[in-house]
Structure formats: structure tokens, C-alpha cells
């Protein structure tokens, strides 16, 4: 016995650690039973259906872009990959986005105002030499760089995407739907590099009356997370969420390039008008696996 404060301090530390260990012990008792029971050393899953291992995957897919300001794009494509193991695959996703594009309400709204504005004629337009002629209307002049006759024709769009990628499938499981339908499932992530074909408003200076578009290719990282629901031995329904971050000019507007920090319009369309955006999309696919027979684990 001692009244040494250092000893007391150490004792308290030891007790605290001991109590913490006791707390762990209380939870780990069930675990020990697993370890020492008949299942000790057994794998977490036996007779696992290896849907992916050494099989080719062909998955026609439809992707829907999310949070679009000016137009939604529906990309038609497919995922092709070879599953080296049940958890690792190499392949790619490709899609065409130039076929289906739907303008948003904002685009319709702007176009409606734009048409009204263009229909308005300042007195000097009909009689340019008349007294008090002020040229085009103020709003026409202020939007001359940004708005052509049809907004839709100057919008940026994703034409195509080709994304070589790896697919990692860390989680395999099963699902009971309404206690009557039973499906095997898996969860995967697919990191890769995307080559994106874009159509955007062409760079110009001066830009009044210049609303042509040009194509370019953007290279961006991409990552997808998804779930597969196996319908039978050789097919599955897939849902996937994908991020595709890169900068582009979606509205064809002059929004930057001048003023402080280049955050103000400069009456030019340039690379500065491309704004970074984490493009998001949801994909639905139907996956086919070849050969049609899967393997089963031990």
C-alpha cells in the first residue's frame, strides 16, 4: 500500500483500461462461441454461386443524367467486361448521348423570353435614321453575346462516353422480396477513366451573332457504384450511380473570363466559361453472363 500519487494515477489508468476491456469482453463472448464452435475456421459463405468468376459480361444499359440545368441526356450504351475473379473485373462502359436530349423547363423558359424579346422591335430598327433612335432594345444588346435565335442550338451536350474501368465487387448477398422472391445480389464499384465527347459552343471573340458549336474530347475520372440482381444463372438486372466530373460550358453563355478572379463576363466565349461540374447519372442495365453456367465455391 502506498499513497504515492503516481501509483494511484497508474492504478486508475490500469483500471480504466481494464474496464474498457471488460466492456469489450461483454460483447465478444458471442464471437468466441463462433470461434470455438463447430463453425470455427469455416468460411463465412459455403457453396457460393460465383456469378462473375471467369465470365464475360455484356450489359446493355440506359443512363439518365441528373441535376441538369438546360437539358437532360439519355445515354444508350453497354458495359463490357471480363470478370477475372468473382470480385475483380476489367472492361469498360461506353454510351452514346447525342440521340436523346430533352430540354429542361429552364431552357423552355429562357427561350420563351428570348423569342418575345427578339420580336420586340425598337423604333430605330424600322427607321434607323429616325429621331431618338437608340438601336436595339437594351436587353437585346445585353444578351447579344449569350443568346442566339434558338437556345437549344447552342447548349452543350455529351455526345459519347468511353470509360475503361475496373470493377470491384466486395459484397455478395441475397435478397428476399416480400418473403416470396429470392434473388442473389452483389454490390460493386467501378473506378476508371472516361473519355467524353462533347459538343459545346465554339470559342469566339467577338461573339455577337456567333453561335456555332464545336466538338472536343474531355478526359475525366469516373466512378460508379451499383447493384446487380441475378434473375437466373446467366442474367441480372443492374442499377448504377455514376459520377463523371469535368468542366464544360453547358449553356453556351459567357459567364467568366473578366474582372476580379475572372468571375465576370468578358464578352467572349472561351475556356474560362467552362464550369466544373460533378456530372451525375443513373444507369439501368440488363446484364448477360457468358458462359451461361456459373461456378460454385467450396
Amino acid at each position: 500500500m502506498t499513497s504515492n500519487p503516481r501509483f494511484t494515477k497508474r492504478l486508475l489508468t490500469a483500471l480504466t483500461a481494464g474496464l474498457a476491456l471488460l466492456g469489450i469482453t461483454e460483447h465478444s463472448q458471442a464471437q468466441e462461441l463462433y470461434l470455438t464452435g463447430p463453425l470455427a475456421g469455416a468460411p463465412a459463405v459455403r457453396k457460393l454461386r460465383l456469378y462473375r468468376r471467369t465470365r464475360f459480361e455484356i450489359a446493355p444499359a440506359v443512363s439518365f443524367t441528373l441535376l441538369d440545368e438546360y437539358q437532360r441526356t439519355i445515354l444508350l450504351g453497354a458495359r463490357l467486361q471480363f470478370n477475372i475473379t468473382d470480385w475483380l473485373a476489367i472492361g469498360g462502359w461506353g454510351a452514346l448521348g447525342s440521340v436523346i436530349r430533352l430540354p429542361t423547363a429552364l431552357t423552355d423558359n429562357i427561350q420563351g423570353v428570348n423569342q418575345q424579346r427578339q420580336a420586340q422591335v425598337a423604333p430605330c430598327n424600322t427607321a434607323p435614321t429616325g429621331p431618338g433612335c437608340a438601336g436595339p432594345l437594351l436587353t437585346q444588346r445585353l444578351t447579344a453575346v449569350n443568346l442566339g435565335k434558338k437556345l437549344k442550338d447552342q447548349l452543350g451536350g455529351i455526345d459519347w462516353v468511353a470509360a475503361p474501368q475496373l470493377t470491384l465487387t466486395p459484397f455478395r448477398g441475397k435478397l428476399a422480396l416480400f418473403q416470396s422472391i429470392y434473388l442473389d445480389t452483389d454490390v460493386y464499384i467501378s473506378p476508371g477513366v472516361a473519355f467524353v465527347g462533347l459538343t459545346e459552343r465554339k470559342n469566339c471573340s467577338p461573339c455577337v451573332g456567333e453561335f456555332k458549336t464545336a466538338s472536343r474530347m474531355a478526359i475525366a475520372p469516373t466512378i460508379a457504384a451499383g447493384m446487380s440482381f441475378y434473375v437466373n444463372k446467366w442474367s441480372a438486372i443492374g442499377f448504377e450511380y455514376r459520377l463523371l466530373p469535368f468542366a464544360w460550358n453547358r449553356g453556351g453563355f459567357d459567364t467568366a473570363g473578366g474582372g476580379k478572379d475572372n468571375e465576370f463576363p468578358d464578352n467572349k466565349i472561351s475556356d474560362a466559361d467552362q464550369r466544373f461540374r460533378v456530372n451525375q447519372m443513373m444507369t439501368i442495365s440488363y446484364n448477360f453472363y457468358l458462359p451461361t453456367q456459373y461456378k460454385v465455391s467450396e
Binding site: 462461441l33 441528373l66 441535376l67 423570353v113 441475397k174 422480396l177
Partner: protein
């Protein structure tokens, strides 16, 4: 020294519940011969001895094995008091129709019936509002009437977290078109939720975790107001609650039988009042001219949070 003794006493007290934890529960349940505690999986063989004798486990005659016409198995009772000796015609009993439900999965990892679920979350993003993001905290409280059906309420608070996108200003400047914007203050809904799917995943082929998926729907209120963009110098709107309906889809990933990560996608539909795109140039302060048309609006939110089920433990009705 006194403190050390107190510390040792606490440590000793800590040991008692650690060892007594399974014993008390198992013992109590095994005596009843009816249930097996969810926390004592590994020791179910012990309790199963009694419980398996009667399947359902809640019959009064449980725990003693079969009762024959001659009182086999209850011989002592018959010897002591022949009048109390139960007499059953086994042929008759065997011929009785059995309405036993057969479940494809005999033991669910989590039983929800008659448990409360606390579900705090954060609205991560509005998935369909590119103009104003309505993030913020929320909390839900659900009571499970059955294992799959719950009634609940939730409350969401948005007021300080509305985020007017930079994009709005850029469009106004570039196209000279103002888009009416709205922000949220709070929302509250009463919901029914239904667990339509459950399952489990093996992670890296090494560990297993359980999950379930649910749909929900309900009615409530959403307090919103326009953000003055057409005439911000004169207009100042106040929040007003509106009738709001919601439908949603959620996923819970269980870390234990009472704690789960909870992700949900919810769509709130309501009739929004937008700012008037025109101005009263004679009297811009006239409030009746500030509001424009109504528009049915949907806000799809992605929520991430966790679920805590109470009571923390539960009993299975059927043996494993």
C-alpha cells in the same frame, strides 16, 4: 488508496454483469421453454432442449415433452393427483389441422415488431433542384406494428441550410431571365413504412452483414417561401406551411440488432407559390402583387443517417 479500492470495486462490479449477462437471459428463457435470446446465439443448444420440444414455444404445456394418453412424461403428476393428469387422444391431436406458417428464412436477423426506431439523418442533397439545395438535419420516429409495417413521424429543418446556387446569378446575368426560387424552413410528415425486402451480404467473402429495404408514404406539411429575385428591394416573403405528400425508398444496413446505417430517397410533393415575375410599378410594396402562379413542385432528397431500435434486444418466437 481509498480511490484505488473504489476503482477495484467498480472493476469487480464490471465483471459481474459481463459473466451474468448470458446466464440470466438464458436461464430465464430456458425455464420458460419458449424463447431463445437473440444475444445468446452460440448457446442456443442449451435452451433449445426445451424450446424445440414444442415448436411454437408458447404453449402452456411446453417443456415436458409429449403427453401420452397414459400420461407418459407426466407420470409424477398423475401419481400425485390422478384428476389433474392430462389425458390427450394422440390420434385426434395428430389429425387436427395445423396452421403453422412456414417461413423461408426461419430467423430474421432483426425483429422490428413492437419496437421503436429513432432515425436521425442529414439531407445530403436535393436530387432534382439544381437551383436551390435544401440540405439540413431531420429526425424520424417509427413504431413497428408488425415486423414489416410501421407508423411514424418525421421532422426536417432546412432554414439555415438552403443554398442558392451560383448558377442562378450567372443565368440571370447572361440571359436576363429570372427564375423564381424558393427556400424551405421546415417539414413534417406522418408516414407509413413497409419493409418489402431484406437480405444479407458477405463482405469480401469474410464477414456477413444484414440489410433491409423499405418504402414509405405519408402526408404532412412543408413550410416554404419564395426567395425574392424579381424585386428584392421591395419584396420580403414570409414562410408559409403547405400540404405536402411524400413517398420514399430506403435502405438500412445493420451493424447490430439495434443499430443500422439508414439511407433514403424521398420525394416531397407540394403546391408551391412562386414569386410574381412582374412588378407593380405604381406600388411595388403592395404585398398582394408579390406572389405569382402556383406550381406543383417535387423535391427529391437523398438522406443519410442511422437507425436505433429500442428496446435494444428482442426474443425470437421460434427456435433457430
Amino acid at each position: 488508496m481509498k480511490k484505488s479500492c473504489i476503482g477495484l470495486l467498480i472493476a469487480a462490479l464490471g465483471v459481474i454483469p459481463a459473466t451474468g449477462f448470458a446466464q440470466v437471459k438464458l436461464g430465464a428463457k430456458a425455464e420458460a421453454g419458449a424463447t431463445i435470446d437473440a444475444d445468446a446465439e452460440g448457446a442456443d443448444a442449451k435452451a433449445g432442449g426445451d424450446a424445440s420440444a414444442n415448436g411454437e414455444g408458447d404453449a402452456a404445456a411446453a417443456g415436458e415433452g409429449d403427453l401420452g394418453a397414459e400420461g407418459e412424461g407426466v407420470g409424477d403428476i398423475c401419481k400425485i393427483d390422478p384428476a389433474a393428469c392430462p389425458v390427450l387422444d394422440m390420434k385426434k391431436e395428430a389429425a387436427r389441422p395445423i396452421k403453422e406458417s412456414i417461413y423461408a428464412v426461419q430467423q430474421l436477423y432483426v425483429m422490428r415488431a413492437r419496437r421503436l426506431e429513432f432515425n436521425p439523418w442529414w439531407n445530403v442533397t436535393s436530387l432534382n433542384d439544381q437551383f436551390v439545395q435544401h440540405t439540413g438535419p431531420g429526425i424520424g420516429l417509427n413504431y413497428y406494428i408488425t415486423n414489416v409495417l410501421a407508423i411514424g413521424a418525421n421532422f426536417r429543418y432546412y432554414a439555415p441550410f438552403n443554398e442558392d446556387s451560383k448558377f442562378n446569378g450567372q443565368v440571370r446575368r447572361a440571359a436576363r431571365v429570372a427564375v423564381p426560387l424558393n427556400e424551405y424552413q421546415w417539414g413534417a410528415n406522418l408516414d407509413f413504412s413497409y419493409v418489402f425486402a431484406y437480405g444479407k451480404f458477405a463482405g469480401f467473402g469474410d464477414f456477413i452483414f444484414e440489410y433491409d429495404a423499405y418504402v414509405l408514404g405519408g402526408v404532412g406539411a412543408l413550410s416554404t417561401r419564395p426567395i425574392a429575385v424579381i424585386d428584392p428591394d421591395n419584396r420580403n416573403f414570409e414562410y408559409k406551411p403547405k400540404l405536402a405528400f411524400d413517398v420514399g425508398l430506403g435502405l438500412r444496413v445493420f451493424f447490430s440488432r439495434w443499430f443500422a446505417a439508414n439511407f433514403a430517397l424521398k420525394d416531397f410533393g407540394y403546391n408551391e407559390q412562386l414569386e410574381n415575375l412582374g412588378t407593380n410599378e405604381v406600388d411595388p410594396s403592395k404585398k398582394s402583387d408579390w406572389l405569382g402562379k402556383n406550381s406543383f413542385t417535387q423535391n427529391v432528397e437523398l438522406q443519410a443517417g442511422f437507425s436505433i431500435f429500442v428496446p435494444f434486444s428482442f426474443d425470437y418466437r421460434l427456435p433457430k
